[in-house]
Symmetry: D2
Subunit: 300 residues, 4 copies
């Protein structure tokens, strides 16, 4: 198929190359001309603006957005919409909040455009060699673009999930599960680290990747990480987060689901970003107040 | 190799057949003569007592215990020890507490016997077709029995983890991680179930099993479960537990590790076994006391 | 002082009587004429509409809203604003979200009115006999209405907390703390209930109310609750929630505070409203899948 | 009454003075001769050994132990038992584990001695001016020593809780509740600290101590702490723990109670003692593995 790709970051570049591997004709645009140039050198088409990109496409046009979620998507859509015509298709495959996707789908659909919210999993490696997609939008139109997903996903690695919003909603929950799983793995290794035995973590992650109940890609990645740094001595345990975990917890609150594991995996990420906590100060002060327990002083 | 197998339950039977597939000569004993008979019909050797089983083996004898953890292991060892002679090898591959294994290893080692504590993962399917082992005990003696593990495990699916206790310790932590992962998956699907979209859970678990970050055996099993009952309508959400999760949390407390995800996965299992909670009664009563908020009455 | 009171529910009625005890002249309006009549019988003034209520007041008028949070407040304000004139004062003393209060304060201030967001604690008993107030709004105008708060609060029981929004924000956090405290008390009694001893809970709550570290009003209320029903046998442990706990957790997420205790106290409330969970079904199904562990069947 | 007091630490010294205030004749022993001397200067009796202390008492002797829990109690009892005679009474009022108390009660009762396990709450101030006691042991013998508790407790501040072990069990749970409450308060103030308003925490804790639902001694102590250091700037938020919280969680696990609030209050104490976590390292490494997310490096 012929399509335009907007965004040549870590994910977009890999996806574009992946598409081309499967015979799709991709014209790409990015705010960075260097990225566009790099993509052209790899055999892709380049555009120097959204308008330029759109001009390269025949109707019904397909524009695939692979950019960070948030305002940037809205800005791109505001710029794109006047350039597109009825029946054109926008695929937004970043990590957007499903409520944003619902709003955008309504906006574009109202103008006769088609909008797909696509959750993309599998990391950079998946983008390059076989991704995993959850796709929300119109089912019949989906079938016209299905080859794009089929070709760039691993076998059985894409799913039409239902109406608009359902793609990003399921991706949000996927990431919530991911937060919980990663925390479980982390906690397990911390217990090992504090416990009485001296394990070879790379070897343990490897054996757990082969035949155990907890085998899977995250355990394989754990093995990979330990293969580079056996005790992760070079890494600070600061766990950043980019939104989906928080959205999952907020959604759990809205639909009144007790999701303590996912919630705590998020809260411990926040905790990891702090050197000290006010909670701790208050509790330490209280212990001192009633029991005379010594507090640790801050250096003045 | 030639060995005795004690215990022909769900795991033991499958493991015994697995061993025989790889040419090992297995004589089995179980408290159930029917189980022994079934094993014999499958081509294995049968013993009608521990003494009978030991008599069938040449020194250094290898006896593999595959029985439920706890008192039953101690009782078996009390009966076995007088029947064995110096240099004989006992492999205990159930889900014992590592502190029990340390104690038992000390006892048997003091008598000139060799003791291996082996964590076995992979479920019944793994036992039959390729298990995952974490093995604690003497390294040199381990090498003499290594073929047993290599042959019955999946490729790369066994690891000598270190001295006595280290096998069961790592299996305990493995199961703690498993608790957390399973809870994360469960919570995710509960959010989906309460959320605004109507997903085909089997299809979603399938796509998440192919290319996503959270792919792995547990997600494949999730797909399998939904393939049998699309909304799990026939199942009560009571999550039993058999010990290792609790041990992991207790160990975390002992070594002062903040492991909230694993801890919460366990506490929610306990919660699931209750129809109502005293905590809830107290909080409801308090809300009524200060705010006049209505309580839900129990039918009298 | 002379003021109008809108809302004669559990809190408003008690507060109105409390105000009158201290010599304030209160004209009240409620959608229920019976409530107004009851208030009049207690010596208060009654109005049959907001317009009627406003007419009874001299400028600068003081109107105290004591109604459930949400749309109802906005509707009242929409009706009130045209009736008021510059310099009039609106006190909103319900449990509103602070962001609503910020928005409303901006709206009314823009029209020359004064707006105070007031968190009111102490329950019905406090409303009647001595409440606790956290008050946000203009400091100088606050001083003109300070007698209202001083007279109807317990000694030291009111605080000007700062600009608009700060009253309800601090009340929100107060309630978050309350959720956590109540859960801690509930969990403690549940451990006692499951533990090896047979306690007289009323007596225990009483002794804990006298001299212990955890003494306070909530423990006194615990005693009171047990005095009416020694084992709370008549109460279902369903813990409803009315918003502030959720807002506190959402705020914690927004400002990236690890607040696990408050978060879990909320999640367990949600859990208490469920007979069974999808999380539990998934985990039980998974245990069956890999280990052949029996599931509990739903009656068909 | 006449009694011997063993242990003149923070709690013992205050309790001894409290006893004397109410006319009891106290002979005290401590490993520190200075403490004994100080107690004598305050009007008390002093002993230079346990034997000396016992000799000062008439049968049935009453010996009150006020020492740190653990081995020290067992050692004292081993030394005391041969010095005592049938019918003598030992009161152990420290924070012992109830299982230790059960064991000790059985030991002493078997020798014809009486043993009381007493949970003492109220902190140092309570010890000096009015404590709170939970008392387990023989009910009839308890009545003979009841004046000691009545006189040194606040009004209604002591309770005979039942057979041996029940005193310390209820104190353990009391402390578990205390952990949860303190964490709830701490988390609340941390949200305030990170939130959009600038509160006077001392003033807020004061108003919350007067009329609010969460009023109580802990909130008064919070006010006191902020009165000394308005933002607790001088304190590190390291929350030490001395055992009872851990025991409460372990007990919750044993009796299968979902006590997430108390459990998390404990786990966050452990977290506060760490500068960095292995959990965090693993999660950060995993995010880097699959998504190329940057990790924070440790300075080498």
């Amino acid at each position: 198929m012929k399509l335009g790709l907007v965004g040549l970051g870590k994910m977009g570049m890999n996806l574009g190359l992946n598409m081309m591997d499967h015979g799709h004709q991709v014209t790409a645009f990015d705010v960075s001309p260097e990225a566009v140039k790099k993509f052209q050198e790899a055999g892709g088409g380049g555009a120097n603006s959204l308008a330029d990109l759109v001009q390269n496409l025949a109707t019904p046009r397909i524009v695939w957005l692979m950019v960070p979620q948030g305002k940037i998507v809205d800005n791109l859509l505001d710029e794109l919409r006047p350039l597109l015509t009825k029946g054109d298709i926008v695929i937004e495959a970043g990590n957007s909040h499903y409520k944003d996707s619902l709003r955008r789908a309504e906006l574009l659909t109202g103008e006769g455009l088609h909008y797909f919210d696509v959750g993309t999993s599998g990391g950079m490696d998946g983008a390059r060699n076989g991704a995993c997609y959850m796709i929300g939008g119109d089912k019949q139109v989906f079938e016209t673009i299905e080859p794009l997903f089929r070709d760039t996903a691993v076998p059985n690695g894409y799913l039409y999930t239902g109406p608009s919003g359902s793609g990003h909603y399921s991706k949000m929950v996927h990431n919530g599960i991911e937060y919980g799983m990663m925390a479980a793995i982390g906690e397990g290794f911390e217990i090992l680290e504090k416990g009485p035995f001296d394990y070879d973590y790379e070897a343990l992650a490897k054996v757990w990747s082969n035949g155990s109940v907890i085998r899977g890609w995250l355990m394989e990645l754990t093995q990979s990480a330990f293969s580079k740094d056996p005790k992760l001595a070079g890494i600070r345990g600061v766990m950043h987060s980019s939104g989906e975990g928080k959205w999952t917890v907020e959604e759990a609150l809205d639909v009144q689901v007790a999701a303590p594991v996912i919630a705590l995996s998020l809260l411990m990420r926040y905790r990891s970003a702090e050197d000290d906590t006010f909670t701790g100060k208050v509790v330490a002060a209280l212990r001192n107040e009633f029991g005379g327990h010594a507090v640790e002083k801050n250096p003045s």
